[in-house]
């Protein structure tokens, strides 16, 4: 019992955030005067809208988390990350729509495909390093993007229009069972986050960090750096593919943009916004990114990307290590500042 209390004390902020997220749909409903019961039966309204936005953020966070693992933690700069996501998304849609598999079979195949992708990246991993790895992965992802866009496969992928008309199983339908979808997405994200934290704290994860810091030294210490990098790649690929599956189930259309380089850049921006290699940063970054994007598009409209660009530039200049990274660096100073302030008041 004692240790439980200790765990609670140590993770107070995280647990409170989680509680907030669980209650979010109901609280959001209250602002509109909708009772929790109405929210429970998925009545249309603000709450449903907010849930939708939150689901998108969870999916983005999952995707960014998987990018942070290989980029921020292990130090592999991959420009092909969008492929991990979009393979999951497209495969889910195609299997459900054209092959008539059920959801569980589909998830199984996506899982295998994710492993296959990690193997594909793993094949080139020992040959190319640094920026060259980035370019090779970019090349592989571009080929996938071109495949998705090609007219020959249009019957399956929907070519440049995107994949649509996927029939989502009723019990998780984003239209009728959105609250359930919300909790599923939240649970997947939280589980993935906990898993990642365990991974980073585990001996394997520590070696990954060591590889990022100095690969030569890690190798000299006797570690087979390839297998550690591959482990990170595998975990990341599976996570991103599941994020893609959720995306396909939630969105009416899987756009080919999710396979483009731009979507990898999205992951990079989210991780940079939040703070590289912090894991928390990916979650915070996804929130900020999506809200910024949404807010700007809604209230500013056409020239939103100007403001977006300006915000990124300002971020880089004034919040040098991302939100979480800079917070971690500053938190000591902030704490000291508070203490000074409190001391002044008490005096």
């Amino acid at each position: 019992m004692n240790s439980l209390a200790a765990i609670f004390r140590q993770n107070r902020a995280s647990l409170l955030t989680l509680l907030g997220l669980v209650l979010l749909p109901f609280i959001a409903g209250m602002f509109e005067g909708a009772s929790p019961a109405a929210v429970w039966v998925n009545a249309a309204g603000t709450s449903k809208f907010i849930q939708g936005l939150a689901i998108e953020i969870f999916i983005l966070a999952l995707y960014a988390l998987s990018f942070d693992l290989i980029f921020g933690i292990t130090g592999l700069l991959s420009f092909g990350h969008s492929m991990f996501f979009s393979v999951g998304a497209y495969l889910t849609g195609i299997l459900l729509k054209s092959f008539g598999l059920n959801l569980w079979q589909t998830i199984g195949v996506v899982f295998l495909a994710a492993i296959a992708q990690a193997v594909l990246f793993g094949i080139v991993l020992p040959r190319v390093k640094g920026i060259t790895f980035a370019l090779v992965t970019l090349g592989m992802a571009s080929v996938f993007h071109i495949l998705v866009m090609s007219r020959e496969l249009g019957d399956y992928t929907g070519a440049d229009v995107g994949l649509q008309g996927v029939i989502v199983p009723d019990f998780i339908s984003p239209a009728n069972e959105r609250l359930r979808f919300y909790f599923v997405a939240l649970a997947v994200m939280v589980l993935a986050y906990l898993l990642y934290q365990r991974f980073v704290a585990s001996p394997t994860g520590r070696v990954c960090v060591a590889i990022r810091e100095n690969e030569g030294r890690a190798r000299m210490l006797g570690y087979n750096t390839f297998s550690f990098k591959f482990a990170a790649l595998l975990l990341s690929s599976i996570t991103a593919a599941f994020a893609g599956t959720l995306h396909c189930l939630y969105q009416p259309i899987v756009s080919p943009n999710t396979a483009s380089m731009g979507f990898t850049v999205t992951a990079l921006l989210i991780v940079l916004l939040g703070g590289v290699g912090t894991l928390n940063g990916a979650l915070v970054g996804a929130l900020v990114y999506r809200l910024l994007d949404f807010g700007l598009r809604r209230y500013i409209g056409e020239s939103a990307s100007f403001i977006n660009g300006a915000i990124y530039v300002a971020f880089v200049l004034f919040i040098p290590y991302g939100i979480v990274g800079t917070w971690m660096l500053k938190s000591f100073e902030i704490k000291k500042g508070w203490e000074r302030l409190v001391g002044m008041v008490k005096k």
């Binding site: 080139v124 090349g139 080929v143 071109i146 921006l269 940079l272 915000i311 530039v313 200049l317």
Partner: protein, 514 residues
Amino acid sequence: MTQFLRKNLILILTLAAFLAVFIAAGQGMERKDFVITLLRGLSVGSLTFLVASGFSLIFGLLDVLNLAHGTLFMIGAYLGWTVYVRPDTFVDVLTPLALLIGGFTLSALWTKLSALLPASARTNKIFPWALLLVAALLAFTVITRYPISSWDTENFSQAPGSYSLMLDQGAPLAPPAVSFDKINPALALLGLLLASSLGAFGLSLFGQQTQSPKLTVKEFIPFGLLALIGFGAFAANDALTAFLTGLSNNWLFLIALLVATLSGIGLGALMESTLIRPLYSRPIYQLMLTLGMSAIGIEVVRAIWGRPEFVMPKPDIFSGSGQGCPATTLAAWWDKNCSIVLLFEGRVRVYNEIFIPLVGILVLIAVWILLQRTRLGMVIRAGVQDREMVEALGINVRRVFTLVFALGVGLAALGGILAAPSMGLSNAMGESLLLNALIALAIGGLTSYPGAALGSLLVGLLQQFMIKYGQIGIAIPFTEIIFKPTPPIVPASTVLLMVIILLLMPNGLLGKKE
């Protein structure tokens, strides 16, 4: 010799394979098609090279992946277009621009002045920001009232595209006249100078100066020049406009090339010294910054020139037609300035397929000489390998960084204006070229200058041959099948080439082994 062969075995084999494929590709089509495709490949290769070489110089020396390079290419095109199609706008803009920059060239004076300020912690924090704010407000007030003859993207008959079109038809539109009716001219000039001075003074207060520079006459020369341009263009506005409009558009095109390149250089210097410099210690964040800059650049272009695509008429020397055209000899071309010449019976567009490659080759040689024969080039080559040591020799690397960044952006801007008459102008013209350039660099070797040239050439040729074969089809040997590469295969082919080459030679064809 044998040792050299063994060391470069893969490279030689790869090049031999390329040659074989190239010859095979030539066998599959008629000679005139082959010549045209070859020249088109050279043309695309040259434009790619202009972007790639700058990108690679910047990456090699500064370690900055400048993802805004494509956007800067596009900005070069739009700026050059403005000079070429609307010289009156160009002349109008000169004065405020020169005066606004003017103050910032007097950094020595501001540093001297800032030493005179009383040192007080509180004012030192607020004062610079206040100065910047006042300067920005002042500049905004004046600029919005300053009469600049321009176009109107909302009004179709006054849109950039219409000006281009009418100029191409030989009946240039007369822009509506503008005059100083919202602001007193003297007040405007004074306001601009004041805004620039206040802004520069404010900025100088941010940096902590350890040593105060000497105030010599030399420090005032740039300012004097800018003031001369500014006031000169103001006083002789009408005369200058008349002169430029009256000029043959060949000369105007030359001026456009120059102005685009110079503004690229200026923009590059500005970008490096203000935005990139604080980030050398945080390399990954440079990606975010340059991406942000890229988005901003595209939006600014959209705000000024509008979203629709438009064309830029070719200068007269490349657009003749009528009797005697297409020309069959050089003399005939010179006589009639034909837009098309016949080469091995193929109809070759002079501007696209001869002039652009020619400029590309000229730039290749010029930069090569700069790198190999000048002290600056020596420092760049040394710095690409070991920046710290160059610094330890007492060489001001930061100035070299700024120069190289400026040079790289200048090359991209030159590429942009060069591409404009053949590609047309669009907001997205830079992106595809940047991707091409990245692929070319990966193929040739990221920080190798000859590699940039070789990679660009390969990418250009491959793309054009793929496009050509998309039209005529490839007869697959021993079968009846004729395979026609569809459009998506064109980008895919270069990407695949890149992946194959990187897996064979991780540093690219001519890259150095680390």
